[in-house]
Every structure is written in C-alpha cells, then in structure tokens.
Point group: none
DNA sequence: AATGAATGAGCGTTCATTCAT
DNA sequence: GATGAATGAACGCTCATTCAT
C-alpha cells in the first residue's frame, strides 16, 4: 500500500541522516519496523530508490515554500527577499531534507534508480529555478533590473542559488568556521545576497541594514504560512 | 617507506574517483599493487585515512596556487582576480582533487580518522581563507573596499568562496543545467563574482566585460606559473 | 483455463532455454505475463512441474514424428532410415525441445513433481522405443536382421538411441569439436549409424555413400510431412 | 594452501553429487568444514570454479586410465578393447566423476569461470580423444582398419565415444530401462561397440561372444593397474 | 478463480580487520 | 616490516510459497 511506503521512508530517513548512506541497509530498515526485508523490496527495488524517494519529499516541500514566496505581492526585490526567506526557512526547519538533497549530489545513486523517479527529481529542481526566474523576469520587465546583455533570468538565479547552497554546505561541513573568523554565517550570507543584488544594480538599492531588516520582517510575515505548508505536506508523507 | 604511502594513494585515487567511497576497499587497493593488504594497514589504519590523505594532497596543491596568486603585484581587485584565476585553474586542472574534497563534506569519514590528519585538513582550509583574506585586508587598508561595519575580511571571503564552491558543485551535479537555461556556468560564475565585488563597492568598479577581459589576461599571465606548481607538487606525491 | 496453462508454458520456455533452470522463477514468469504469481500456482504447484510439462510438449512432438517415420512402407532398413531422419529433423527443428529433455536427465526435478506427470514422461519414452522396436522386430521377422542371441529389439534400439543422443549432446557441449578433428558431426553420426547396422549384418548391406544418399532422399520425402506435424502440434500447445 | 583447496573439494563433491548444483552453496560447504565462508572464497572465487575443479580431478583420472589402456601391447582392436575397459572401469569405479562431467554439459557454469580452468578442461578432453585416436591411427596404418574415405581417426573415435557416453547417460537417467526391455545395458553397450567395429570392417572380426570374452579378460588383466592408478591419483586430491 | 502483499530463509559475495609466520 | 590466510558479520537481493481478500 501507499502507507507502507511512507512507513519505510520514515524509518529510513533517520538512519540515512544519522549514519549516512553507507549505513542505510535494507536489513537495518527491516529490523526497525514490523515488516520483513522482502516486503521492503516490494515497495522499493533497491536502497537507492529509497534515498530518491526521500529526496522527493524534501523537494516537494521546498517547491511549495518557493511557490508561496513567489506569489507574494510587492516589488521584485521584495519578492526575491521572500524567496530568500523561504530558503532560510527551509534550511532551518527542514535541514534534514537539505542534507538528503546534498547526498544526491555526491553518492553514486543515479545508476541504479528508475528513470521515472530521476525525472521527478529533475522536474522539481527545474521547477524551483523556474519559480525564482519569474521574479527575476518581472524585475527585468519592470525595469528594476538590467542584467548584463546575454544573461537570462535563470543565469541570474544561478548566482543566488550558488551563494545559498555554497554557504549552507560550507557552514555545515567546514570544521571550525568560527575559528576562521566567520562567527555568523547566516548574517554573512544575507549580506552577500544583498550585495549581489546591488552589484547588478537591482532597484531599489539597499544597504546591508535595510536588507537585514527587510529579511526579518518578511520572515515574520511568512512564518506562519510556511509552517502551515510544511505541516500539511508532512501529513501526506 | 614514505614512497610506499604515495604508491598506495596513487592506486586508491582512481578507485575513489571512478567508483566512489563505497568501492574503495583495502582488498581492491592491494590487488592493484605489489604490496599485500597487511602492508597497507601499516601505512593507513583504515580506508578513511586514505581518503583524508588524498584530500590533503589536493589542498596542498590549491594552497600553493593561492599563494602564487596572492603574491602577485597590483591593486587588490586585480589580485582578487588572480585568486579567482587560481580557483578556476584548480577546478579545471585538478578536478579530481576538487571532487575528493567534496567527498569529505558528505561521507562519514571524520569519526574514524586520527585527529592529526583532521587538523592538517583544517589547517589547509584555514590557511587558504587566510591567504585570500590578506587581499581583502589590503583592499580595506588601501581604501579600495569599505565593507559593511562588523564584517571582517574572512566573512567577505566567505561570499566569494560560497559562489565558487556552490557554482562548481551545482554545475557538476545538477542534471541538465543547460536545459534550465544556464548554458555556460563558468561565464555566469565570473559575472556573479564581479557583481558581488561591485555590490560591495570594491574599487575600481568594473562592468562584466572588463572583468571577463581581466580574468582572461590574468589567466594567460599565471598559466605557466600554475602549471609549474602542480607539476612540481605532483612529483612529490 | 487450459489455455492459461499453455500461456504459462510459452512464457517459461524461453526463460528456461536462455538462462537455465536456475533462472526460471515464478516471479519472472509472472512478471512477463498478464496473470499474477498466485494464478500460476493454481496451474502448476511448483516450477519443476512447469519443466516437466514443457518436456512433455517436446516428447509428444517427437513421438508424432517417429510414428510417421515408422509407418512408412519399404524394407526394414529403409524404415530405420526414416526414423533416423525423424531424429535428425527433431534436433534440427526442435532443438529447444531436445535441450529441455536433456535438462530432465541432469537437474533434480523428479523429487518435487507429481507421479502423474512423471508417468506421462515415462510413457512417451517407452512408447518411442516401442515404435522403433517394431521396425527392428519386422527386420528380425523378415530375416533381414539376425541379432545376437538373447538380444531383443529394444536392446538393439538402445544402441542407435545412444549414438544419436550421445552425438548430439557431445556435439553441442564439447568446446571445439572442430579443433579436435570432427568438422561435421552430423555426417559422422550418419556413418556410425550405418556402420552399426552393417555390423549387425542388417540387410541390405550399404556402404557409407549409399547410406548418406538414402538419408538425403528419405529426408526430402518426409520433410513436408514432418513440418506439418510440428505445425499442427504446436498449434495445440 | 593447496591442502585447503583439496579439503574444500572433498566437502563440495558429495553435496554436488547428492543434491545437485543448485544445492551446492558456499554456506553449506562452510558449515560442513572447519573453515569460514570467507576462507573458501580465498581459494575459489565462486562456486562454479569449484565444480570445474572437481571436474578436472575426474578428467585427470580418466586420462590416466586411458594412457594406461593405450600403452598396452597387441593388435589395435585389442588395444581398443583396453580403452573400452578403461571406460567401463571409469564409470564403474568413478561414477561420481562421470556425473560431474555431465553437469558441465548442462548447467551454465562456463560464464563465470576463469579462462585458465576452462582451458584445462578442454585440454583434458582433447587429450583423451587424442589418445584413443592413436589406436585408430595405428589400426589404419597396420591395415586392420580401412575407414571410409575422408573420415579421420578422431571422427571414428567420436562414434565410440557417443555410444559410451550416450549409453551411460541414458542408462542412468531413463526411468525404468528394464521395463522397456533393456535388462543389462552394459552388455548391450559392449555388443554395440563390437558391432560398430565389425561394421567398419575392423580386423580381426569378432562375434559378440568373442568380444565379451575379450573384454572380460582385458578387464582382469588391467584391473589391478587401474585400481593402482585411481588410488595414487586420489591421494593427490 | 484470481490476486499480490508478505514472508524469511537463503544466496553469492564483500570486506575491514586480525594475527601467526 | 611484510605477508596473506582466515575470519564472520554484514550486505543487497531473490524467491518459493502462503494466504487474506
């Protein structure tokens, strides 16, 4: 049944997160639930598919957050801040999902998985970029942003995405960021994102204080919406 | 004796890169070289240490490139471009090392490794950030850069680092970046790095064309130096 | 209902032939047809029974060929040639059936199968020997053959059967028969069968050229009959 | 060590013979000896190799018997009788080896085995045919045998081989040979082999009684030699 | 009659690690 | 210091069979 698959995923998730892909074994999953190993294979043909299915859960969640952020009213830069808030919210509240997504980028999972689930993953990724691109596109159309010639919205998005992704990964995997002189990576990330906007001449110009205030207010505004989204999504999982 | 260790690493490296951490086993390493499994254990107490040792090789290399970049004459923004060139050069010519470093950020390797080698890794990372920080520091001191108050050079570096790292990882792990609308991620990365500089008001201001020209010229200038460095370093490995 | 069983067999057959008994599993059969695993168990209590049922199909076919061969007019030696032609035809055109029969002689199938199907198999085998024995019997009665005292027709048949069976198996399983110096095992087999006849003094004596000519002509004569038989039999399967 | 391999084979052999290839599992072998499963894999990379190794033992033995038979003095037909005796002796006293050899002809073993052991098997087979061919060759050269034109010694051997192999297999796998009317397949086989000789005009002509007497006497003569050979060979195994 | 989820023992294989030589 | 046989738990996966629906 469908419920069975969700149970399997809910058992597999903590194993994957706490002890890594290597430690995720069908034996271990089976031993932690009431069903036998063979039963798990009726739902997932191999453990890689389990990881993919877990990743899909997270990507679904994030896309929902992004969709909510993008649909906010206001100027393009304000809406971009909303997306940034969605990003921050996602990493804060769904950090596990973020880490699972990271896994996909590292371990050799793709070879053994069905094309169907692979496509699902790709669609979610594409769709997230697309959502943010609409904000950039709106900025261009309204004249708030004049990107370098030959630079399309997705390429602009790529920069923000790289800062967000890179910051998060480095922050959580670099041993002793504080010792190096980066005490609050979240604040640093916000400032960099804002500076990048300014660097592109994205109107209205904001100094770092204005940006941080904006981010805080946006967070407050969307917080309950976001919580509602992840609550309802997780009920389905 | 020391040579033995290097031989082991040179056998382990392609296994790790081609088939992943899971596939790296002492058995397989031993079968591909003239020494027995037991001998390998005399040099590396477990396979995680091998991975760490491989990572150290790469980080040594990159620090050498960074050192060369940082010692270039010229304005701070020009020197930062040199560091950028070093980054690009590293990923182009030492992509394997880059991937091994990524591995460290994902797989559960740290638990089983000696504190000594862990510290070595940390020192190289700190040292790289430190090198780049000197450029930022110089920019601040010369007045070319006025960072937001409370933002120290390492935090500035963090932004550039995040863009570089994030871009590379996303570019090499996102299925179908081109389909999404990002045909040349290298160019996009350069533009974003430049925009970030501009966003911080780093003098002299540069538009994207000037920056790309600068990067190209810097590359040409340093190319042979860089090649010499990786050649000599690899002889030692 | 009966058609269902035939469908199952037609799915199982290529699996058995291409990948062997080990690879034949109820799961695999079910996955290749429209019915579920449980349904298959309603028709065949285990996979051994499927193999037996497949073998019966082949043995039915061969007996039909033998019956046609034996009913030919002419001298006993001519009729024996007809049986030989049936053998050759069977192996050429129903090689799969021949291989399945071989399987029965090797794999431990008998323990798990019903006595009923086992008896069916035995009856077909006995019946084939019986058919050929009638030819030998006729030869004895007509005086064309004087077998050693105490040697009954079935024992004579046994020799021919052994040459045919042994030749076929050796030819198809001996790696590199040609390299050993046996370029055309079919021709060799014919000569040996003829020599055995001559050795028993079976009248009329034939040299090897006459025998091969006889075999060729008999083949031409019976070919269309044989084809008709396997066509009609296979419709029933 | 070498002794360990022999121990493994001696455990595997009865499993293979009593319950078939399917039942031969590394688990079962390990459970029946003092060494662990992993140890077995140090000697044989998979179970197919074990079967091949067992087959080699038998083929070595048979070739030794053939070599002894062939080196007997006397006319070619007498020496051929010696080979026949070797065959009969082999099947009587090394029936297990004969059955293992049969296995090779049926189950898909070749795919997973090393080319080295495969070649060993082929060499033994070729070598056995070669030994018998020398007898045929001698018969031709002495004028005792005039084979059909274009029929080389190995092709002659093929006929005898087919009768021997086919008879043995049919005798041991046909359910109820006696019921069919073949009470003593050994006697039948002898008569057929003799008739085949006569059919080729192999001199001196022998009737079935003379042949059976010859075979009996040859058996008595060689019996102790043969026993000695298998005893000494089995000590090495 | 048909289904197909569930089972769980079993399979072939791997591998980090130990340790006597 | 080097060896490599030995270990034995663990792994991913299969599959004949059962049985409630």
């Amino acid at each position: 049944m469908e419920r069975r698959a969700r149970e399997i995923l809910s058992v597999a998730r903590p194993i994957l997160l706490e002890d890594g892909f290597q430690a995720l074994s069908m034996d271990r999953v089976a031993s932690q639930m009431e069903y036998a190993k063979g039963t798990i294979y009726n739902h997932f043909p191999n453990k890689e598919e389990i990881v993919l299915a877990l990743a899909v859960q997270g990507m679904k969640l994030r896309r929902a957050l992004f969709a909510k952020a993008v649909e906010q009213p206001g100027g393009s830069r304000h809406r971009l801040a909303c997306v940034g808030a969605a990003c921050e919210f996602f990493v804060s509240n769904c950090f596990d999902d973020f880490r699972i997504e990271q896994l996909l980028r590292q371990v050799n999972i793709w070879d053994k998985t069905s094309e169907h689930r692979q496509n699902t993953i790709r669609e979610y990724e594409t769709s997230c970029i697309g959502l943010v691109s609409t904000v950039v596109q709106a900025a261009v159309e309204s004249g708030e942003l004049q990107p370098p010639p030959g630079m399309d919205p997705p390429e602009i998005v790529f920069g923000f995405w790289a800062i967000c992704y890179g910051s998060q990964v480095l922050a959580h995997s670099s041993p002793g960021l504080k010792e190096v002189g980066i005490p609050d990576f979240g604040r640093a990330m916000r400032i960099h994102l804002n500076s990048l906007c300014n660097g592109f001449g994205w109107q209205p110009f904001m100094n770092w204080q204005q940006h941080i205030e904006l981010m805080d207010s946006v967070h407050q505004q969307l917080s309950s919406d976001f919580h509602q989204i992840i609550t309802s999504q997780r009920e389905d999982q």
